[in-house]
Symmetry: C2
Subunit: 497 residues, 2 copies
Amino acid sequence: MSKTQPARGMRDFLPADIRRREYVIGIIKEVYESYGFEPLETPAVENLETLTGKYGEEGNQLIYKILKRGEKLEQSTSEKDSSDLALRYDLTVPLARVIAQHKNDLPKFFKRYQIQPVWRADRPARGRFREFYQCDVDVIGSSSMIVEAELCAAVGEILLRLGFSDFVIKLNHKEILTGILKAVGIPTEQHINTLVVLDKFDKIGAEAVAKELQQMSISVDSVLKLMKFILSIYKRQKKDLKDRIENIELELEKAYASTSSKHNDEFNFTQHSPEKINDITFERIAGFTSENEEGEKGISELKKILKFIKNQYVYKRIEIDPNLARGLSYYTGTIMEIVLTSSDFSGSLAGGGRYDGLIGMFGKEQIPACGFSLGLERILVVMEERGMFPKELGDSSADVLVTVWNEDSIGESLKLAGELRQQKLRVLVYPEADKLGKQFKYASQINVPFVCVLGESELAENKVTLKNMETGEQEIIERAEAASRVKIHKQNSQSKS
Amino acid sequence: MSKTQPARGMRDFLPADIRRREYVIGIIKEVYESYGFEPLETPAVENLETLTGKYGEEGNQLIYKILKRGEKLEQSTSEKDSSDLALRYDLTVPLARVIAQHKNDLPKFFKRYQIQPVWRADRPARGRFREFYQCDVDVIGSSSMIVEAELCAAVGEILLRLGFSDFVIKLNHKEILTGILKAVGIPTEQHINTLVVLDKFDKIGAEAVAKELQQMSISVDSVLKLMKFILSIYKRQKKDLKDRIENIELELEKAYASTSSKHNDEFNFTQHSPEKINDITFERIAGFTSENEEGEKGISELKKILKFIKNQYVYKRIEIDPNLARGLSYYTGTIMEIVLTSSDFSGSLAGGGRYDGLIGMFGKEQIPACGFSLGLERILVVMEERGMFPKELGDSSADVLVTVWNEDSIGESLKLAGELRQQKLRVLVYPEADKLGKQFKYASQINVPFVCVLGESELAENKVTLKNMETGEQEIIERAEAASRVKIHKQNSQSKS
């Protein structure tokens, strides 16, 4: 490792990177603010006890802990005791802490967005970093499904404005999952662990999930019933995998010597609207859970969201998916995830859900809450690969470069630069007295569209020579005219792109 | 300590705080970009070895170190070995690392700004935090004093646009300090430590500085000569302290039984322009250093900066101050600091200097560099105390609140909100179906200027009732007209403030 590299899994962002990041963040902020969300920021460093016990065993291992200092470190008796601070792991737990602390200073329905980095000591991989930004948006204080409807509308609007046209917002409900697990006979105390395993379905596949569940001493019958239900949903989503999935189903049946007959799935989904498909999914869930209390509640809340959002653009992009689990144990109601349907990208762009119990872990009061977290890094990766950034973002750092003739005229060059800046131009002054040829060459290298020459004769006559670096044309003009010339060109090229 | 508080010395920023911070950061970015500076960001976490040995012994103690994880921690044999990562301590050292790493991807003259938090395990105090933002601006690749001139102009423009009218940019030069220390007979190997002590002059006072220097085995004669020079400059700067300083001078003379006569300082500075005062300061320095090589070089470079910047607004705000030391050992040329002259605030708003040797510590090549660091937290504190923020920043999170009549009409309320957002309004939807009175009350509490009621009769007639929360007036209007009504009001109230 070279001593000039950033730490492993972390990145330096050069100007072109920042321009792309700020373009995306700018749109995210604009849309969130149009929905009345307000900005919040919390410290990078939290008390260790604030974070521990919130992210499950796996998450706990990935928290970066900070070494105690001085006296405090000397007093610590064990390795475990050598840290009392840690780096922020997500933006949800700090939000819950802030709500419990500032409840009286905040509006009853607090709508906040927060765009900050988080740190996880994960194994670095393509697209997985140890420092990465999350863009969270949450509504605190309301149990109504209006919240979910608005969150879906806002996040959908952001993706649309960024240029995504192939996204789907998947919705599920914690109670539907509970209803399903209950229906297949998995005991309540096994539910959390079962959901952690199911969340890995996409990564490790059906066979491995079934195996892990059996290792947890879940009965063969329960596993088989559960897998069959999951696969029947999955098959519909991944039409191209239909044959493979049917094979897996057969093998599972053989392996577990099931007595149940193969599910007859003759319904042709490609013919139907997203709306109709969601209706059928609801029927399936209701049938499978035998309309138990939990399943009923989940279905009823998701139906409300669909009803509220019916008039919105995102309505057609919503897909009810009873397989959607997500690993986080603090979800209590709706579970949400956004995926791209095109095959060039797997993984989700955003995830979220309702967590009505988390804030109560910090304060005395239970306050309902629901939110979405956009994965900035993933959005950027896909936009880069698909060439979705506007052309202007790659542009130069300046509209015009002012040359320097000699040491004595530097003051005049700086003054001219000031005049041009007053006209709202971004202006570089060549930062050395050097040959004019070198100054032109530099302007061309860094892609500055105009050079404004202030030489001996120009100074004497109160004029400047303005060179268009694209066309090579140059003309001597009144000093006061330089700004407007550059601005006209700038407006023209912006309206073209 | 409550478990809902942030970690000691760290802060949560609620929406009103963020609005003020973003207002200031927005102006800083706008001005820097108009000078052709480009954004850069580096990770919060750096390899420990990147930071160690760069900030002196005192700085080293304040670095937050991150605990090694898993296997790595088990392999570590000592306490010192238990960390290989650390939190960013400033923005200059990471910049030097980035330049050494990305030299070939960056323009020859790289002008960058960077606005990010840094962390120091300092004792928290009023206005001193363990997490705080720095706003750095640096020019890499040029040794010309054009760089210093532009940096002063840019930072001066920022302060002016923020509304500061009482700031002074102090300039000194590392070689002038060397020339002075040489002139009073302090040996070269003592220079760095002497400057660290001199930097504390404002905090601990003349007597304590003199005592510390003596404890370093610097001769009484050297200390006395040095203190007299410092005080003669200081007296001029702090006219109200003239009597006290003359007393100190007398006491110092008595204490050290000096043979030199009291300096006759009859020149009345209040009569003269800043320009004339700087000329006299240059004469003093030249006289005191007996025009030694170092003093000459420092004076010549500072005179160039003044010459280059003569046409700019900030020229009159520049004060040559041979007492300005600053603790950082990596400065090699110009040293800069911005202070407020009014007595309500002590301490600097910005500091910086030239560090032509730092980048060479990471790469093979020495690359000249010079920069300014604006203290965002201090700027915010002073602006808050002086009431310098524009009134609109305190405004509400939304322009209009749309009411919800009942569960069945929620979809229509969300639709109306979408229509209003298309007209560039920030729109809240009341997030529950509740009594209309409660919804009005809430709008008033959170200071939203308009409420748009979508009740049973309005829905039937495709109209809305628009209530102006300030005047209490309400009228039934066409649904399509609502946005323009709110917008007219918004424009009027913005143009008033």
